[in-house]
């Protein structure tokens, strides 16, 4: 094991959502370490806190207590603007519902995170990323002109365009048919392997979770202790 810090380290993370009578303890004393280049499958029933955990490590929710280190950076020490820039540079997110911006072409959608980071040749790099997901010929098309699978590939290209250290995927095949979904998953793992990206994948699919290096099970806001909770080295 190298001296590099892990990709993600959560210690004693607690988070409550809602107010008054509807206040819910969504994450309870979460401790989690994810090694660099590791693929984690995050599973659990609805309402177990998987999405909230994703948002915490992506810097989209601040915990009420605990430590969140991403690539060695304490997210609590970043103000809002620096957190946004950190997220844009280090974390890529793939959503279940794609969430492409409807008034931008596929090329522009992929270029947005690069433009936000101030990359000068953003469109050129975006074109390369679209080619990497085999959509170079659909660069000028709007999301409404793309199939579900194509939209998710554009979303994937957008997520990895900035060469993020961590790729977070929230049920990326949830809105796709089996064949298309499988193609997307293959693409995700291929890109992860080629770039050494750490992958955190939320899924209900046990088979998909099994493709990951490790499966983390959640229930009622806690990570269930299990044999698969052994940290594998980045070399594995």
């Amino acid at each position: 094991m190298g001296s590099e810090p892990p990709a993600v380290e959560l210690s004693g993370v607690n988070i409550h959502l809602g107010r008054g009578a509807s206040r819910v303890h969504v994450l309870r004393d979460i401790d989690l370490r994810i090694g660099r280049g590791e693929a984690i499958g995050l599973v659990g029933p609805s309402g177990s806190g998987k999405s909230t955990l994703l948002m915490v490590l992506a810097g989209l929710e601040r915990p009420d207590s605990g430590l969140v280190l991403v690539e060695g950076t304490d997210l609590a020490k970043l103000d809002e603007d620096r957190l946004a820039r950190f997220r844009g540079a280090r974390i890529g997110i793939v959503f279940q519902s794609f969430h492409l911006i409807p008034t931008m072409t596929a090329l522009e959608n992929v270029a947005v995170p690069l433009e936000l980071q101030g990359v000068v040749d953003a469109l050129k790099r975006a074109r390369e990323e679209l080619a990497a997901v085999s959509l170079a010929d659909r660069a000028a098309h709007y999301p409404a002109q793309l199939s579900g699978g194509e939209q998710q590939r554009v979303a994937l290209a957008r997520a990895i365009a900035g060469n993020p250290a961590i790729l977070v995927a929230d049920e990326p095949t949830g809105n796709l048919d089996d064949a298309t979904g499988n193609a997307i998953i293959d693409l995700i793992f291929e890109l992860k392997r080629a770039r050494g990206t750490t992958l955190v994948l939320v899924t209900h699919d046990a088979a998909l979770a099994a493709r990951c290096d490790r499966v983390v099970r959640m229930r009622s806001g806690r990570i269930e202790p299990a044999g698969s909770d052994v940290i594998l080295s980045a070399a594995q």
Binding site: M55, D81, A84, H99, P102, L116, G118
Partner: protein, 862 residues
């Protein structure tokens, strides 16, 4: 500079073009949903710009045409006496002198008689511009005596009044005059003020022949001088005009002229233009502010539609302040459509009005574009947009990204961040400062701003109260009422928006209705038995007694009163020249132009002494004067102070002996200035005689006495009070129409906002309607619930509108117009009721389509 800071600066510099790029991409989706937004901005900006442009155009037109309108470069006006020989020589040596005499008289033809406004002119008339005559013949030829009969020119209204046509002979005074042409346009009409009868033009010789020029007759002599310019110049400069005035005042110190120049043709007209401009600007501002609710609703709707996109941008690395900036750029781009369109449409109004109505309007408009008007529209449009858009836009900062991970997006419940609250406060303050600094009357502007803010606050509180009350009432048994109450108390209810637009619109309607009703009440209110039916002017002192007997003989049931009458000008107030005095608004008119003055040994009827003492009947000391107590207050005068008046070309000082309260409402004989009898001993004067009939229909008696006196006393001018009141009432009616037309801009804005608020709630309504229809609810049931909902909101708005409108009308009528106020509810209730019905119908029409949405289509998209 450190590398990090340098990098940050470079990044910041690149962000601006990126912001514009991202905003442009987002706007590819179109601007649907912004129709009301653009409409509200356009309306308010157009109104403000148009008012400013027209005001500048009018001022420029008056300045440009000043010489024509005045009839020369300078005018010296005086009542009773024409120029002396010395004065005439003085002016004739300095340019072209043109003298006109203005007086009222009675014209008679066959068995008809009517009041006319005579203008007697010399051969130089008009010294500037041209009179429009039909037939178009030279004026001196028309007016010349032919076979001993002088000619006359008359306004076409005389033809309608006396049923005369060209060639007929009309009797004026003791002579007959042949009507030889109709007056189609009068170049110096504006300088002459408002008249109550048709204009008749005679020559000076003709006026003398009429027998009307008796000593003390109420004739005003206006002497216009077109100054000989310096060598090489076509027109004398303003400096030359000023020098000439100074020379004339030095040469004839007690002349008592009222002096006007071509740059100050009619101070009263200029003042009225300022007042009208101010009023119309406030109307435009009202429409912009009322439209502000529509702006806020539209931006709120935009933020809702863009919630997913904004959340995605934040997930991709955009900070909250960045997405705020980007959406602000988009909103401003869309707002610019309304602002620029409104500014352009307003700026070209002088050109449009001139080209369409130029021949009809009696005053000149300059067809030009005015940068000040354009700037005014741009600034007001931008500030109003920002004031109302920043609130909903500020919430963009805290849109949660969590919705991207979950199916349902919850509306953000976070409080608006302080930075945005401060920004809104700064912009609102800038708007307030703009309103206050550009208004000609600061007091009115402050009252307006206070009233508007107060209305907003009260309406917001009312909306909150309504929602809170609805939440607390026990659930009613009836389903229809329950459905209606659910819509009012739901989160994100549009009740506040509907209440705001409806409440402000109703308040405006009620204000206008009450002001209109009170004005008409003032005009129409006469105290039976004491309000005169006739004023008889130019009754010579020698014939006064006989004339009174004549009236008593012809109208035994009538009441006849009389008082001596002269005209004079207040030239000094406590040793200060009148033009250097700064009177209160209610007293300024006393120092402008000639006033009717009288003298008597007894306290006049209709007056009561409130301070000081009345002089004895045989008083023979220094000249004393009694002054209206409110005028004294307005001029800063008190018992013992001295005022100087110029009468018949002579100045005299009079000490204030007492102050009177005058009951002007009786319309009887009353004067601001009443002198002790010894003041004008030996001066030529005429008498004013009034005739009052008992209550009842006196039309036949009035017409009979008018014909009789015109025939038997041709040099006496009879003014029928009813005709005067009708003329004033007509003017007020026209003004009321103009005010309502102008106010309709604000009402249209309120309607747009109401329509926008209703439209904004359609999605939620469609959702509810689908669910209820799948559960068995019919369209009529849903419609009934909506009627109840809108009626409830409308009832609250109506109560506010009635109370706030009445309060506003009270302030305007009592404080600004200085009239008594009466709570005349009939018109206001009618206006409010109609508006309420309209609003409910509008809401139902807008919602009917939504009720027709098929459940299957909606359920598939859920």
């Amino acid at each position: 500079m450190s590398i990090a800071v340098a990098a940050s600066s470079r990044r910041g510099a690149r962000q601006v073009p990126l912001l514009l790029r991202l905003a442009a991409r987002d706007l590819r989706g179109g601007i649907s949903g912004f129709g009301i937004f653009i409409g509200c901005i356009f309306l308010g900006v157009w109104a403000i710009t148009a008012v400013s442009a027209l005001s500048h155009s009018l001022s420029d037109g008056v300045a440009r045409e000043g010489r024509t309108m005045l009839g020369g470069d300078v005018s010296f006006a005086r009542s009773h006496s024409p120029l002396s020989d010395a004065e005439r020589r003085f002016f004739a040596a300095r340019g072209l002198l043109s003298s006109v005499a203005i007086m009222r008289a009675i014209a008679r033809y066959s068995d008809r008689a009517g009041l006319i406004e005579i203008k007697a002119v010399d051969s130089t008339y008009p010294a500037a511009g041209a009179a429009g005559l039909a037939p178009a013949l030279p004026l001196p030829d028309i007016l010349a005596a032919v076979d001993g009969v002088y000619g006359m020119v008359a306004d076409e209204a005389l033809s309608a009044k006396l049923d005369v046509k060209l060639g007929d002979r009309v009797e004026i005074g003791t002579s007959s005059f042949e009507l030889r042409a109709f007056l189609m346009s009068e170049p110096d009409k504006l300088a002459g003020g408002i008249g109550f009868g048709p204009r008749v033009i005679l020559s000076h010789d003709a006026l003398r022949a009429s027998g009307l020029l008796q000593p003390g007759a109420l004739v005003r002599w206006i002497n216009r001088l077109t100054i000989t310019p310096a060598r090489g110049h076509a027109v004398a400069s303003d400096d030359e005009a000023t020098r000439l005035i100074d020379e004339a005042n030095a040469a004839f110190p007690g002349a008592g002229w009222e002096v006007r120049t071509r740059t100050n043709v009619s101070p009263q007209f200029s003042k009225n233009v300022d007042r009208l401009t101010e009023f119309l600007t406030l109307i435009g501002l009202t429409s912009l502010i009322v439209g502000g609710s529509g702006i806020a609703n539209a931006v709120r709707g935009f933020v809702e539609r863009k919630r997913m996109t904004i959340a995605t941008m934040k997930a991709l690395g955009a900070s909250g302040s960045y997405v705020f900036a980007e959406t602000l750029v988009e909103i401003l781009c869309i707002a610019l459509i309304g602002i620029l369109a409104g500014t352009l449409a307003g700026a070209i109004m002088p050109l449009i009005i001139n080209s369409l109505f130029g021949a009809l309007i009696p005053f000149p408009l300059t067809s030009a574009l005015y940068p000040q008007a354009v700037a005014s529209g741009l600034i007001y449009g931008l500030l109003a947009t920002l004031t109302f858009a920043l609130g909903p836009l500020g919430r963009v900062h805290d849109i949660s990204v969590s919705g991207l991970f979950r199916d349902e997006i919850e509306p953000s419940r976070t409080r608006l961040r302080w930075r945005y609250r401060l920004l809104i406060a700064a912009v609102a303050l800038a708007l307030l400062i703009t309103v206050l600094t550009t208004s000609p009357n600061l007091r009115v502007a402050i009252i307006y701003v206070g009233a508007t803010l107060g209305s907003f606050v009260v309406l917001r509180l009312l909306a909150g109260l309504l929602v809170a009350l609805v939440r607390r009432v026990p659930r009613p048994h009836g389903l229809t009422l329950r459905l209606a109450l659910v819509e009012i108390r739901r989160a994100g209810t549009l009740a506040p928006s509907i209440l705001l637009s409806l409440g402000l619109g109703l308040a405006l309607l009620v204000t206008l209705a009450m002001i209109d009703a009170n004005l008409r009440r003032q005009i129409g209110q006469q105290i039976p038995g004491t309000t005169p039916s006739f004023f008889f002017l130019d009754v010579r002192a020698a014939e006064a007694s006989a004339f009174q007997d004549y009236l008593k003989a012809h109208t035994p049931e009538g009441t006849v009163e009389t008082a001596p009458l002269l005209r004079g000008r207040v030239v000094k107030v406590k040793d200060r020249k009148a033009e250097d005095v700064h009177p209160k608004d209610n007293a300024a008119w006393v120092l402008e132009g000639d006033r009717g003055i009288t003298f008597t040994s007894k306290v006049p009827d209709g007056s009561s002494v409130v301070k000081g003492t009345w002089w004895s009947s045989n008083y023979s000391g220094e000249p004393l004067v009694s002054l209206d107590v409110e005028i004294a207050d307005g001029l800063g005068l008190n018992i013992g102070d001295v005022i100087t008046v110029n009468v018949l070309g002579r100045e005299l000082n009079a000490r204030i002996a007492n102050l009177r309260h005058v009951n002007w409402r009786t319309l009887g004989i009353n004067f601001v200035l009443v002198f002790s009898p010894n003041t004008f001993a030996g001066a030529p004067y005429t008498r004013l005689v009034t005739l009052a009939f008992p209550p009842g229909n006196n039309t036949a008696r009035e017409n009979a006495i008018l014909r009789a006196t015109a025939h038997d006393y041709p040099t006496i001018t009879s003014i029928k009070v009813k005709d005067v009141l009708d003329a004033v009432s007509n003017i007020i009616s026209q003004l009321a129409v103009a005010i309502r037309a102008a106010s309709s801009v604000a009402l249209i804005a309120a309607i747009l906002v109401l329509a926008g608020a209703i439209a904004a709630g359609q999605r939620a309504r469609a959702y509810d309607a689908v669910i209820l229809k799948t559960l068995g609810a019919t369209r009529w049931r849903l419609l009934a619930a909506m009627v109840v909902e809108y009626a409830l909101i409308g009832a609250v708005a109506a109560v506010f509108g009635l109370l706030a409108g009445a309060a506003a009308a009270y302030v305007i009528v009592t404080r600004i117009m200085a009239f008594d106020f009466a709570w005349i509810w009939a018109q206001s209730l009618a206006a409010a009721g109609l508006a309420l019905v309209f609003a409910v119908v509008l809401g139902l029409v807008g919602t009917w389509r939504v009720l027709g949405v098929k459940p299957a289509a909606m359920v598939r998209s859920l």
